[in-house]
């Protein structure tokens, strides 16, 4: 197992390198003039030329790429042509907000999707399982952007239950930064006002993401449950007189967690992409919003930075899920000997 682990980690930098090369080439193929954007509309031609020189855009593409890689390794991810602010600190500042949102959303769609999936999978009523499947698929069918706006109209405008935008109330001081998660930090520092406000603000964007994805979780779980219920050890359990609860939660669930694990890896990729739109709708100051602004203005250094972060995150998560298989099912060993 250690050998396979080592192998996976060794491949990681190559995959990331490949991502950066592809993104670099694509963003440079698009006809755009970042020097012009950085210099400003009314800059004279000399100012633009000076900016182009400063940004190293006159060098051949390969030289630019190698220069970029060198800078990357030294921790210099360049600066935005639009805002002139350095990329890495901005991404690092934006990351905790997105991670917190994705974490809450993940916990949410697991907490909702697993019981519903078990319900669907173990229910003897076809009507119940059909109804549940239908409503859970509804959430998936709507574009997440539209869902966000609808939730705002419902929970903010009509019911006045939840705030529409932001990560914390405007009159509320954010908690002292320890982990970067407002919820955790307010809990740790005992800042109850910040805690309440943070939970209020994360509710809608998280609900949006949850509604959009719990169906996938439920589906995977339902499938796993149905398969488990038909298996030998479950029949043995029933024969031994174990309670339904005990069978489902203590025995079948362990095996259901395997498809859940698979699904988590996939969901994470979707969540990263979905975060871009959700953060725009709810003015959530995370990396998704940073990505959206950079893409819209073809600001290629921030785009490269964001792509780097997204790809590393995605690769790592899938690495983790692969490793979790070892824990959940010893039958699946790293080398694949069943």
């Amino acid at each position: 197992m250690l050998a396979s682990l080592a192998r996976r980690f060794a491949v990681l930098p190559l995959m990331v390198l490949g991502m950066t090369l592809i993104t670099f080439v694509i963003t440079h193929l698009i006809p755009a003039d970042p020097a012009r954007v950085a210099a400003g509309l009314n800059a004279s031609a000399e100012q633009v030329a000076r900016m182009r020189e400063q940004m190293g855009l006159n060098k051949p593409l390969m030289a630019q790429y190698m220069g970029y890689l060198g800078d990357l390794l030294r921790g210099d991810w360049g600066s935005s042509a639009v805002s002139q602010r350095p990329v890495l600190p901005d991404i690092a500042a934006a990351l905790p907000a997105t991670l917190e949102l994705l974490l809450v959303a993940t916990v949410g769609f697991l907490a909702l999707g697993i019981p519903i999936g078990i319900w669907i999978g173990s229910s003897r009523s076809r009507l119940v399982s059909a109804l549940l499947s239908f409503t859970s698929y509804l959430g998936m069918a709507f574009p997440v952007f539209w869902l966000g706006l609808m939730l705002q109209i419902l929970f903010y405008q009509q019911l006045h239950w939840l705030p529409a935008v932001g990560r914390i109330g405007t009159q509320v001081q954010p908690p002292t930064t320890i982990t970067g998660s407002y919820i955790l930090d307010s809990l740790i520092t005992g800042n109850w006002q910040a805690l309440g406000s943070s939970i209020q603000h994360i509710a809608m964007p998280a609900i949006c993401l949850i509604l959009a994805r719990f169906a996938v979780t439920a589906r995977f779980v339902a499938g796993g449950v149905q398969e488990a219920l038909g298996s030998d050890y479950v029949r043995t359990g029933k024969a031994k007189g174990l309670s339904r609860f005990s069978i489902l939660y203590k025995h079948a669930l362990r095996n259901v967690l395997i498809p859940v694990n698979t699904m988590l890896g996939l969901q994470f990729g979707w969540l990263l992409g979905g975060s871009i739109l959700i953060e725009a709708v709810f003015s959530w100051p995370g990396i998704g919003w940073y990505a959206w602004r950079s893409i819209v203005s073809l600001d290629f250094l921030p785009i490269m930075g964001v792509t780097l972060v997204f790809s590393v995150a995605f690769i790592l998560i899938n690495l983790v899920t692969d490793l979790l298989y070892q824990v959940l099912d010893p039958r699946i060993s790293a080398g694949g000997n069943a």
């Binding site: 009523s125 935008v165 309440g196 339904r244 819209v296």
Partner: protein
């Protein structure tokens, strides 16, 4: 072994956990909602883009200037009603005969937010800083050679060459505390301020909100009703801005989309304040590319568009006709120029005369992709030109791509729609970049007319205002004749506010920016 069909035990543990968390959240919600202070005399404004830098020497667009005008001030200002230059931090001025030296008398008793008094040294330090950084709107003072401190409250600006309209530039240069310039590194100015303006920055949460409070020692004083604070909240999504405005959570929403305005007009709690503003939109022809090199073809295309429909449909009525290249509000505007009207008969005649009686060619029309109203104009033109046998391909591109294409004569589109920025009411600042042969400005489209060049050169140094305006009039007439562009419309300035917000007046050249000092909430 039986359990209920609904699997009650399955949900109990989950239900209990969730219940506790919800209860805690609800309790805290109550605390927060009930305990929040009401800033009754402050103003909250929803804006759709964050301010990337608060540096007054660099900021060059609305997201920067909306904050800068709260905390910083300029030497002179433009009167929104008369378009004339009025005193501000400078109270009087005199100019030498050939307009190459401007002597300003400064206002006494003005303090910067850090306590430094405003004086001639401050003017010198501020102008020199902006000039040396060389970004933002510094191009406006590029002819400034020297700032002489004549006395503590008198300063002389010596220019490289005569600049008849240099006073306009002084309405855009912010005065910065010399102490801050001396003692603070450049990065400090990105998130802090050292101005003389009515409001000072008290909280800067990057990309989320910016909070300002009254500066007690502000030189105009605080008699009468005023805002005690101004808060900017970054809300990217216009639909969300609308929700916040309607619920009263924000007092002003700056970026409501045109489609939402009719509904908001009907809402008594909201005022849609509309005023005509110098925000001209042009469609430029690539005059080097046949058949657009023939003025008759250009004129025919210009006569094809239904300009009234363009305003009604693309701008939802929030616009006014353009009369030539210079905005009607600018001094030196040629009153004899009439708005262009659709005339398909004349268009057909001109096309026939030019050798294209059935049309028979195809053109590309480029617009800025997220300005959908420009696309609407493109479609209107496409429809009209189809009737003349001309195919128009309508394409949207992001700004970075547009400018790259516009810079390259090979890739330059046949028609491109854009807006011109109007930092100062100087007709020259509109005419020179767009029409002078060899101008390298992004808005220049290969147009060349030696008569226009001659008149531009004369106007640039003509110190007599009346004569200079006469030259402007001639240039405008020539441009209208040559038709290197279509003059589509001028977009109104529209501000959506809660109806209890009083005192708002559009600020002419600070477009889409509020006059914070004069506003108050009833």
């Amino acid at each position: 072994m039986g359990t209920s069909k609904w699997g009650a035990p399955l949900f109990a543990p989950a239900g209990r956990r969730l219940g506790l968390l919800t209860q805690v959240a609800l309790a805290l919600m109550a605390v927060v909602l009930l305990g929040g202070p009401a800033l009754a005399r402050g103003l909250t404004i929803a804006v759709n883009s964050p301010t990337t830098t608060f540096d007054p020497s660099i900021g060059n667009s609305v997201p920067h200037q909306r904050l800068l005008t709260a905390a910083y001030e300029t030497l002179l200002a433009i009167d929104p009603d008369t378009s004339e230059v009025i005193p501000w931090l400078a109270t009087e001025w005199s100019v030498n005969d050939d307009k190459s030296e401007y002597t300003l008398r400064l206002r006494e008793g003005v303090l910067f937010h850090d306590g430094t008094p405003f004086d001639a040294e401050a003017v010198k330090a501020s102008l020199e800083r902006t000039l040396s950084i060389g970004q933002g709107e510094s191009y406006l003072i590029s002819s400034l050679r020297e700032v002489q401190v004549v006395s503590p409250y008198e300063v002389r600006l010596v220019l490289d060459s005569p600049q008849p309209e240099f006073l306009y530039a002084l309405t855009r240069m912010f005065m910065i505390s010399p102490t801050a310039i001396r003692e603070r590194p450049a990065e400090w100015f990105a998130t802090n301020e050292a101005g003389t303006g009515p409001y000072r920055l008290v909280e800067w949460v990057q990309d989320q909100r910016y909070v300002f409070e009254q500066f007690p020692e502000y030189w105009r004083g605080w008699e009468g009703p005023h805002l005690d604070s101004v808060t900017f909240r970054v809300v990217v999504e216009p639909a969300t801005q609308r929700l916040l405005l309607e619920s009263g959570e924000v007092d002003v929403a700056e970026n409501i989309v045109l489609d939402d305005l009719p509904a908001l007009e009907l809402n008594p709690a909201i005022t849609v304040a509309r005023s005509s503003a110098p925000r001209p939109f042009y469609i430029s022809f690539n005059v080097n590319r046949p058949p657009l090199d023939d003025v008759r073809v250009r004129k025919a295309i210009a006569l094809a568009l239904d300009y009234d429909a363009a305003i009604e449909i693309a701008l939802a009525g929030y616009g006014s006709p353009m009369r030539g290249p210079v905005p009607v509000q600018f001094p030196g505007f040629n009153e004899d120029i009439e708005p262009q009207q659709q005339d398909l008969e004349e268009a057909r005649r001109l096309l026939a005369e030019a050798g294209y009686p059935e049309g028979g060619f195809s053109l590309t029309f480029l617009y800025l992709e997220h300005w959908l109203f420009e696309r609407t104009v493109g479609l209107l033109l496409q429809d009209a030109l189809a009737g003349l046998g001309i195919e128009l391909v309508v394409e949207g591109q992001p700004w970075a791509t547009m400018t790259a294409r516009m810079d390259d004569p090979e890739q330059s589109p046949d028609l491109v729609m854009f807006a011109q920025s109007t930092a100062t009411p100087s007709a020259l600042s509109i005419l020179e970049p767009m029409y002078r042969t060899g101008s390298e400005h992004w808005s220049h489209f290969w147009y060349s007319n030696p008569d226009v060049d001659r008149l531009l050169a004369e106007a640039a140094t003509e110190v007599d205002d009346v004569r200079r305006h006469g030259l402007y009039a001639q240039i405008q007439a020539l441009i209208v004749e040559d038709q290197p562009q279509m003059f589509v419309f001028s977009q109104d300035e529209v501000m959506t506010l809660r109806s209890n917000v009083r005192g708002y007046k559009p600020q002419f050249t600070w477009s889409k920016i509020l006059n914070y000092y004069d506003i108050y909430v009833e």
